[in-house]
């Protein structure tokens, strides 16, 4: 089998292509990620603790400030200051033309936002949670994701869908679903899922600037969590590249691939692995579900020989299924043990606390699987 070409110089990605005037070309300069400046921020001074909520709020404010075509709409985003206060203060600062309360009418306002994007605006469509976006998923997939391709490239759709996704505490089945796999499977979409405050700010800004439809899957339980934010990330030109994962913790014995809130759980598990067994687990924060950073995952797998995926979606046909399949396709010869996954359970999320705990990955679950995988 011909070895797949995996590692291409990143510069090639940005290389310009011939384009006809009818097909608009995205000016990369508009959102060239400041990777170089971003590297090594951890050692710089001026680091500040910022909650994910404030990081998102900052990203929204900066993008609303810099681009008049951008506006945000959704349920309770304006006068109420956001159901989860992510849009706090934006109405006062930008006025009702740019920060728009909608009725509870997901298919209607999501479709309207997509239409406005087709007509050249850059809407940010907030869903109070992504559970409610199911009412509008046809607009996200059939109207937003596919139109550019179907039109032969003459009809772009620059829109950002955002809101809390996945597990939240004590809200039962209809409000606790992870949609990463749903949106991640759709050609034409880009999907990001931030964990830390830097992720949240950098990825949301990248999503708003990206000329394609981008789904930003946030997590309600992370909103109030504070993370250190580098000086570079505090600036208004801070953008993270979509499609690049981040190695949150380097290691040589085991690769743990995770996203969103499970990154934090994985890091805790990795710390315990080190403490109890002296094992060095490498934790990869995916950041981007689509496109997936296959290169970083496979490179890590080649180094450690073992891979585990940790996520909170349903187990069947999910993000971890995909990661495991990729591990086999690209890294089979490097694996020294079967790849494993830790996921949400295949059950509608129950309400009672104990049962709920059994439905989602906990640090213990991750630790248990890791020790089994490493035969510790």
């Amino acid at each position: 089998m011909a070895a797949p070409r995996l590692f291409r110089p990143a510069a090639r990605l940005l290389s310009s292509r011939l384009s006809t005037p009818l097909r608009p070309t995205f000016r990369q300069s508009a959102c060239a990620p400041s990777i170089l400046r971003f590297r090594g921020y951890a050692t710089q001074g001026g680091v500040k603790d910022v909650t994910v909520r404030d990081a998102l709020n900052e990203a929204l404010a900066e993008e609303l400030e810099s681009n008049q075509k951008t506006f945000i709409l959704g349920e309770e985003v304006a006068q109420y200051n956001g159901a989860y206060k992510v849009t706090r203060g934006l109405l006062d600062r930008f006025g009702p033309k740019r920060v728009i309360d909608t009725p509870i009418t997901e298919a209607g306002f999501c479709g309207l936002a997509v239409g406005a994007a087709l007509a050249g605006l850059h809407p940010i469509c907030e869903f109070m949670t992504f559970n409610f976006a199911m009412q509008a998923i046809d607009q996200i997939i059939n109207s937003a994701a596919k139109t550019h391709y179907m039109s032969g490239g003459i009809q772009p759709c620059n829109i950002t869908f955002r809101g809390p996704n996945g597990f939240a505490a004590g809200v039962a089945a209809q409000h606790s679903q992870d949609y990463s796999a749903w949106y991640g499977s759709i050609p034409g979409l880009k999907v990001v899922s931030p964990w830390s405050s830097e992720d949240a700010k950098g990825l949301l800004k990248a999503a708003i600037r990206d000329p394609n439809p981008v789904v930003v899957l946030e997590n309600e339980l992370l909103y109030g969590q504070a993370f250190p934010m580098s000086e570079a990330a505090q600036k208004d030109d801070f953008v993270l590249p979509i499609g690049k994962a981040k190695i949150e913790r380097p290691g040589k014995d085991l690769t743990i691939v995770s996203l969103s809130r499970c990154v934090g759980l994985s890091l805790n598990a990795a710390a315990e692995l080190k403490q109890k067994y002296g094992v060095e687990a490498e934790v990869i924060n995916l950041r981007s579900v689509k496109p997936l950073d296959v290169e970083t995952i496979v490179q890590s797998l080649k180094k450690t020989g073992r891979i585990m995926c940790v996520e909170s979606g349903f187990p069947m046909f999910g993000v971890s299924s995909e990661i495991l399949a990729l591990a086999m396709e690209y890294g089979f010869d490097y694996l020294t043990a079967p790849a494993v996954r830790v996921t949400g359970a295949e059950v509608p999320t129950p309400y009672a606390a104990g049962l709920e705990e059994m439905s989602f990955p906990q640090v213990d679950t991750i630790l248990g699987q890791a020790t089994k995988l490493l035969r510790l």
């Binding site: 990143a10 070309t25 995205f26 209607g108 239409g115 490239g153």
Partner: protein, 401 residues
């Protein structure tokens, strides 16, 4: 319930006396005097009195200011759509067009009447029966037929097909019934946001009229006073289901409830023209949205696989064909002395040869090459594509650039 809503609505300032004339088949309008000899000199032509039914709205003028040139153009454009659709019909029967192909024969007056009331700065979005609208908005017969044939030089580069054609100020061809209606509200929203005083024509069928998101769009449009004219093209059947079997209330122009409405004889291009001109002024004056209903009829089946006779009688079809928008209009223009029978025939001949030659050109266009570059192109805006995309196997993974 309906009466209640009418009564309560009467208290609202914009409510005007309801004019409800029973619908009859279009009466012939009396001969016209004073038709100028010059092609571009404006004069007024009458519209039959039974062309409109109103809902909380004054009727549009029963005459329209026009010129001989414009009248001939209206006839020319309707004939062009008819010819193009017939060409598509025969290409489909020759198995050269694949998949879905929804023809608009019988409904030409709607597309043509609307377009002649608009400028190119006005926006239009429609559902899947879109060939006529694409042509009117600026697509060429060659590019449309090329698209139907799946050719590289088709209007969507062979990627969209019958239901997905776009051009400037035309937002498609949309394949999901009802889903284009909120999009149209969004396009109008963008016009309002950018402070552009134009109108969005937002079309859907009688089948789509029962979709929840159509009503969600009505609410948002009225709530935010959007410059949009919703338009239900009522061709009496949603696929094979007649309006009576699908809708608890078939007066679609009243479906906006709190939005003024107008039912238009969609078989008369002049009635459509007058109504849309009038609606455009109404909307531009900041009065908010309108809900129009264009009463029309589809001669062909729903799509090519439907002979169109299982759910309607041949007699009905024959009766409707007697009310043909093109031949009726031609007779009127001859009666009015706008053109002679021979001149009409000359237009027909000219259109036929134009369509035939463009179809021949389209048939000569190459199909898209079976290359990864072409398969994966334009999924994302150029310059912002992901680095790699997977093909059918790992060996077919496509690397950008």
């Amino acid at each position: 319930m309906l009466l209640n809503s009418l009564k309560s609505a009467r208290a609202v300032p914009w409510v005007r006396p309801v004019l409800c004339t029973p619908r009859r088949s279009l009466a012939h309008v009396a001969n016209l005097e004073d038709v100028p000899t010059e092609d571009d000199k404006p004069f007024s032509v009458p519209i039959a009195e039974d062309s409109f039914d109103t809902y909380h709205l004054d009727p549009p003028p029963f005459s329209v200011e026009t010129t001989k040139r414009e009248l001939r153009n209206l006839y020319h454009d309707m004939t062009m759509i008819r010819r193009m659709e017939l060409a598509a019909d025969s290409l489909y029967k020759d198995r050269k067009i694949r998949g879905f192909c929804h023809l608009s024969t019988g409904q030409e007056a709607v597309a043509v009447g609307i377009e002649h009331a608009l400028t190119k700065a006005d926006k239009l979005i429609t559902a899947y029966r879109s060939h006529g609208f694409t042509l009117m908005r600026g697509g060429t017969v060659k590019s449309i037929i090329g698209e139907l044939l799946g050719r590289r030089d088709g209007i969507s580069y062979g990627k969209g097909g019958s239901m997905h054609m776009f051009c400037e100020s035309f937002f498609g061809g949309n394949g999901i019934v009802g889903a284009s209606v909120p999009l149209g509200a969004g396009i109008a929203f963008a016009q309002q946001y950018n402070d552009i005083k134009n109108v969005t024509i937002n079309l859907y069928g009688d089948g789509a009229a029962n979709q929840g998101q159509v009503h969600e769009s009505f609410n948002l449009a009225k709530l935010w006073n959007l410059p949009v004219i919703f338009g239900c093209e009522n061709n009496k059947y949603g696929m094979g289901t007649s309006v009576e079997r699908a809708s608890a209330m078939t007066e679609y122009y009243k479906r906006g409830q709190y939005i003024p409405g107008l039912r238009i004889n969609g078989m008369d291009v002049l009635a459509v023209l007058s109504a849309v001109k009038y609606g455009k002024k109404f909307v531009q004056a900041g009065n908010g949205p309108l809900v129009y209903e264009y009463l029309t009829y589809r001669y062909a089946g729903h799509s090519m696989s439907d002979p169109g006779i299982a759910y309607r009688s041949r007699d009905e079809l024959k009766q409707e064909r007697a009310n043909d928008p093109i031949s009726n209009f031609k007779e009127r223009l001859i009666d009015w002395g706008v053109f002679s029978e021979d001149e009409a025939k000359a237009i027909d001949k000219d259109v036929r040869s134009k369509v035939n030659s463009e179809v021949a050109e389209a048939e000569k266009m190459p199909a898209p090459e079976m290359k990864m570059d072409i398969l994966f192109e334009d999924m994302y805006v150029r310059g912002s594509e992901p680095q790699q995309r997977r093909g059918r196997t790992i060996d077919e993974t496509y690397y950008q650039g």
